[in-house]
């Protein structure tokens, strides 16, 4: 006996036909409404957008050259300190370079590294995840084996070694970090793909003879996209933190390029007397990373199918 027959015999109330369907607003409207009230999303978005604009228009926003040294203007404290000067709002570093200017140019490095590394990692990870999740079986086992190997390697140590070998050019750092952070993309893409794989519309596409490639790109990728964006934001934040750490250790971006991690490293020698040299770039990293994380969390909340509070 099927459950429907059983229900009819026993007079289950759940089989009473319900004529109308509740009127619901369209998903786009819901998302827009959620976005407009999501404080984290708004704050994160504003800060990230601001950082991008500052990075792009840095030359227009500051009269100083980030590389121009002026040994007569060394270690001027920020404007709020007793000996501060309005000429250098955030003071100068040990070589007399304007700190605010370096901070603004440093945003370029952080953002390029973040976007670049997240893009490379996203391409590698998403491809592997799609392939593993879609084909399953042995292919999937190989993909998971790659992930296991990747997870077992001490990322920072490997990155340090590779950068020491290949040098600290920005593209080298971007590539190395991109190759370090693809595992989370694989895990998430793979599990979503596995879920979507069994959905009716994928079976329908298969039934009408669509190729694997068309199913993956046309049916599965769109479903994975929201998750990828969220992970990308997370990994972007991590890449920015790791770049700062590598540069701090002297094995990332090379001087005199203004990287925030490098600025902290350079300020370290003076940190007992001029703590702002360490504090300011650290706060910059912290604010940018928090903003990216909030933006990512915001996107996740906004695009979530069911209202998650």
């Amino acid at each position: 006996m099927t459950s429907i027959e059983r229900d009819r015999l026993t007079g289950s109330l759940d089989t009473i036909p319900i004529a109308a369907i509740l009127e619901a607003p369209s998903p786009r409207t819901v998302m827009r409404r959620r976005a407009a009230t999501h404080i984290g999303f708004l704050f994160g978005g504003t800060v990230v957008l601001g950082a991008i604009l500052i990075a792009i228009f840095a030359p227009l926003l500051t009269p100083y050259d980030p590389y121009a040294q002026d040994l007569t203007q060394r270690l001027i404290p920020p404007v709020w300190a007793v000996k501060g000067s309005w000429a250098h709002l955030l003071g100068t570093d040990s070589l007399g370079r304007d700190y605010l200017t370096r901070l603004m140019y440093g945003a370029r490095i952080s953002l390029i590294i973040g976007f670049g590394a997240a893009t490379i990692a996203g391409i590698i990870g998403t491809s592997l995840g799609l392939i593993g999740g879609y084909f399953g079986g042995r292919v999937d086992a190989v993909v998971m084996y790659f992930v296991n190997v990747k997870l077992s390697l001490p990322g920072i140590l490997v990155a340090l070694s590779l950068i020491s070998v290949f040098g600290g050019a920005v593209w080298v750092v971007v590539t190395v970090l991109g190759f370090l952070f693809w595992d989370r993309f694989v895990v998430v893409t793979r599990s979503v793909t596995q879920q979507v794989r069994t959905a009716d519309y994928v079976a329908a596409a298969e039934a009408v003879g669509a190729s694997h490639w068309r199913i993956i790109v046309g049916e599965i990728l769109p479903n994975v996209m929201n998750h990828i964006i969220v992970i990308a934001s997370l990994e972007m934040a991590v890449a920015i933190l790791v770049e700062a750490a590598l540069s701090f250790l002297g094995l990332g971006i090379r001087p005199p390029t203004p990287s925030w991690g490098l600025m902290i490293s350079e300020g370290r020698n003076f940190m007992f007397f001029q703590p702002y040299l360490v504090a300011i770039p650290g706060i910059a990293i912290f604010v940018l990373v928090i903003a990216i994380n909030m933006l990512g969390d915001g996107i996740r909340d906004i695009t979530a199918p069911e209202g998650r509070n």
Partner: protein, 305 residues
């Protein structure tokens, strides 16, 4: 169960072999090591001599098997810098790294688990918001920078704690906090979501229907289920802490294997670097295997399933 573990162990061995190959090839990617070792001014004969001395003129696979064979017997080669055995260098320093990692792990757990439980029992309250903000903070703050700020505040301004060295317990407090901060957000979030899921479950409703006390419901019934993924994460985090020790050890001038790796990278002392990379990897693999075992022991669905 046994089959599951054998399967995991086999994969672990396979992964360990792959990792050792990667670790071995890491520094050889740069091209000619012999040229680098012989120095900028070396003549071709000298380079060839150096290459022969270190066996670098042999095929790469032969070098790998030679190295791996010796490594299995505990012979990791000698440092190119000090000529001391690498195993001795690592052995002298591993204690510091393990101590810092464990302290950081325990510090992280002690703070994050109660916080996660508390947050989950009062979702959307100020406690919950505080805990989540704390996690957001921990996730976004650069570890090395936090270390420096702690040194400035507690070492220099307040003069409560020493700022470098590794011979006294107090030397480890700031590194413990710095490193512990990096694992705390994940523990806190995992405990919180685990507890939220558990507290929302039918078996907790059942426990309440049985009239059990709040502490029994929270700790015996909910936490025991919520803690399972945290146990897995603990092992993984320990591996992560060992690998991440390079940063905190450099900041606090702790003489552990992270600092050793850092110095060796700067000196292109490849036997030391590759040994540490492989050592940390294998430690990580072993730890995840142990966490599988512990999880299987704690979760009857795996143990008896």
């Amino acid at each position: 169960m046994t089959r599951f573990l054998i399967h995991r162990a086999l994969i672990a061995v396979l992964v360990a072999i792959t990792v050792s190959v990667i670790g071995f090839s890491l520094l050889r990617l740069s091209g000619d090591l012999a040229t680098e070792l012989a120095g900028d001014t070396a003549k071709p004969e000298q380079i060839a001599q150096v290459a022969h001395l270190y066996g670098l003129d042999r095929p790469l696979y032969a070098q790998y098997f030679d190295w791996a064979g010796k490594a299995l017997h505990g012979d990791l080669g000698r440092s190119l810098f000090s000529n001391e055995p690498v195993s001795l260098l690592i052995g002298q320093r591993i204690g510091v790294t393990v101590q810092v990692s464990f302290m950081a792990l325990i510090f992280g757990l002690v703070i994050s688990i109660p916080l996660g439980v508390l947050a989950a029992t009062r979702p959307n309250s100020w406690v919950d918001r505080m805990a989540l903000s704390f996690a957001v903070f921990g996730q976004a703050v650069p570890g090395f920078w936090l270390g420096l700020i702690l040194i400035i505040v507690f070492g220099v301004m307040l003069r409560w704690l020493p700022i470098s060295g590794s011979d006294h317990f107090s030397n480890f407090i700031l590194p413990m906090v710095t490193l512990g901060m990096s694992v705390m957000p994940a523990f806190m979030r995992l405990t919180r979501t685990g507890m939220l899921d558990a507290l929302d479950s039918d078996y907790i409703r059942m426990a309440r229907a049985k009239g059990l006390s709040t502490s029994s419901i929270l700790f015996k019934h909910a936490l025991r289920n919520a803690i399972l993924p945290v146990v897995s994460l603990t092992a993984v985090s320990l591996g992560f802490l060992l690998g991440g020790s390079v940063i905190v050890e450099s900041v606090f001038a702790l003489n552990g294997i992270g600092f050793l790796a850092y110095q060796s990278i700067l000196r292109t002392d490849f036997p030391v670097v590759q040994s540490i990379v492989v050592f940390v990897s294998v430690a990580y693999i072993a730890l995840t295997l142990i966490s599988d075992l512990v999880n299987a022991y704690l979760d009857p669905r795996i143990r008896l399933g």
